[in-house]
């Protein structure tokens, strides 16, 4: 697996007084993006996203330890969740629920066990974990809660939703880094990266960034053609198929002689 390094770089300390914000306890996450794109090539089989940055302080840190929560969220897409039931001896879909916004990918990495890092109230306020993010305000969900639970369960089993506690390296309460494995079946779109700095289980500061995931080269060309000129794409598909078939039979005839 190729290692894709997305460096959220540590910015050098700036004049401190100007950066102090009230209510943030004088602590701030400072980052810069050195890469803002994941390229999907023909041989793409997933990659590791390496995220790192630092905390800048205007005053010495309080006694309670600080923690980091990192969220990587894929594009939000609507899905239908269906439930099967046995009808006359045969399993068939009987009920369905519609979820307006379900992330295609969602990874939460923390610097410690989640309950010790983030309180339930803060989790809800910032929509951090998957169940919270999916049930957040603005998402229209029809049907019973068991459907949402099933959606999360299935995607967790597929490795698309996950929580990795302790996966964030947090040194001296200043430097942090984490590696998030992106699966091979990545959906194209904008991926949100959210980093929360917490203290005493409460969010002190957060930072948001976006990286684009998109196809490049022949992948991009084919995809664009299929959307922008479908008849041409269809004819190209047929031409390739016919040519391949004809070439093969010609080659076979030649070999038999």
């Amino acid at each position: 697996m190729r290692r894709l390094v997305l460096a959220l770089l540590l910015a050098l300390p700036l004049p401190l007084a100007a950066q102090d914000t009230e209510g943030r306890l004088g602590e701030e996450i400072v980052l810069g993006l050195s890469a803002d794109e994941v390229a999907i090539t023909v041989t793409f089989d997933g990659s590791d996203l390496l995220v790192f940055g630092a905390i800048r302080r205007s005053a010495p840190p309080p006694a309670t330890p600080a923690e980091i929560v990192l969220v990587v969220s894929g594009p939000l897409v609507p899905v239908t969740v269906r439930r099967a039931e046995r009808v006359a001896g045969i399993w068939m879909n009987t009920d369905a629920a519609h979820v307006d916004l379900a992330p295609s990918f969602y990874a939460v990495s923390t610097s410690g066990p989640l309950p010790e890092v983030l309180s339930a109230v803060e989790n809800q306020r910032h929509s951090v974990t998957v169940p919270r993010a999916i049930r957040s305000v603005g998402n229209r969900i029809e049907g019973a809660d068991t459907f949402v639970e099933a959606l999360i369960r299935i995607r967790e089993a597929e490795g698309l939703y996950r929580i990795e506690e302790g996966a964030v390296d947090f040194e001296e309460e200043t430097l942090f880094s984490a590696s998030v494995g992106l699966p091979a079946n990545l959906t194209e779109g904008n991926y949100d990266i959210r980093i929360y700095l917490t203290r005493d289980r409460r969010v002190v500061d957060w930072y948001e960034a976006t990286i684009g995931v998109q196809r490049v080269g022949i992948e991009r060309w084919l995809y664009n053609l299929s959307i922008q000129a479908p008849p041409l794409y269809g004819l190209l598909a047929l031409a390739i198929a016919a040519l391949a078939g004809w070439t093969a039979s010609a080659a076979a005839r030649y070999l038999r002689r």
Binding site: A242, G245, W246
Partner: protein, 305 residues
């Protein structure tokens, strides 16, 4: 070697796909079936989204049947007028079938309908073929003169009679038109070429000689799946060229080997083998309908409109 498929948006092993294409090509060459009834479920199984699997296998079938049709044309085992009549029915049926497919998809019952149709048709066709071809083998073992089949049934006496020289038939165009239409509907609903349905229908219903059946059905499948590919590319954008290319590569090689094997084998033996494969797929699907699934819920992506 892993390959990322641009339309399906999944990464799969290239050699797995190559092998899959080869297996299906082999069957295509040997029996004159498009192989869609095998490749579509196999693609589901390795994680290709159903809509992409159905559309792309149509494109793959074009390639594997081109080489088959060319091989059969060379041996003059294609009844072209008969193929055209079957095709005309097929185009009507396919258009109808796509409408039915979309209806069931909006109801969330596509999986069930597809599986049920598979079980029903594969079971019936496979069972009939198996019994009939076993009888044929037993007859030829006894070395007695082969009794003539009943030549004409009432269907053949309908109006608009046409002479199909290569098949040695003088029958109404309606039975082949109906067969073609049925195949078109099944093809669109089940995502298959429909050869497994057409071959027995041609043998038992139209009573065409086995030798021209395979070439003629491939001929119809070629143009019908080309039509289906275009329909899918234009309406759903679900044809994956990279996926198709790998399957085709494996398929064309398999088809050549298959045609050679098919030409050397006795027709009755070929039919028993095809019947067994059809029954095996049928059994596996029937089991999946009755067996309690480990996960009762499933996720359906909603297409952006």
């Amino acid at each position: 070697m892993q390959l990322y498929l641009p339309i399906a948006e999944v990464s799969v092993n290239a050699f797995l796909l190559l092998g899959l294409g080869g297996l299906v090509g082999l069957l295509s060459g040997m029996f004159g079936v498009g192989g869609g009834f095998l490749i579509t479920p196999l693609l589901f199984f390795i994680g290709i989204p159903p809509a992409v699997a159905v559309a792309t296998s149509a494109n793959q079938i074009v390639a594997s049947s081109v080489s088959g049709v060319l091989a059969h044309l060379k041996r003059r085992t294609v009844d072209i007028p008969m193929g055209l009549v079957l095709l005309a029915g097929g185009l009507i049926g396919s258009t109808l079938g796509i409408w039915v497919f979309n209806l069931f998809r909006s109801m969330g019952q596509v999986d069930l309908i597809v599986k049920l149709s598979y079980v029903l048709f594969l079971g019936t066709v496979g069972g009939l073929m198996f019994v009939e071809s076993l009888r044929a083998i037993l007859r030829s073992r006894r070395a007695g003169p082969r009794p003539q089949r009943v030549r004409h049934n009432r269907l053949h006496a309908l109006p608009l009679k046409v002479k199909f020289r290569a098949s040695g038939l003088y029958i109404s165009v309606f039975p082949p038109l109906a067969v073609g239409m049925l195949v078109g509907v099944m093809g669109a609903v089940m995502g298959v070429g429909g050869g497994f349905l057409m071959v027995p229908a041609m043998i038992y219903l139209l009573q065409m000689p086995t030798k021209v059946v395979i070439g003629t059905s491939l001929f119809q499948i070629l143009f019908l799946s080309a039509y289906t590919t275009m329909m899918h590319a234009i309406t759903n954008q679900t044809v994956d060229l990279v996926l198709a290319l790998i399957l085709i590569l494996g398929g064309v090689i398999g088809a050549q080997v298959g045609t050679t094997i098919g030409a050397r084998m006795k027709a009755e033996n070929l039919r028993v083998m095809l019947a067994l494969i059809v029954l095996a797929v049928c059994f596996q699907l029937a089991l999946s309908l009755v067996w309690t699934p480990s996960e009762l819920y499933s996720i359906d992506p909603v297409e952006a409109t």
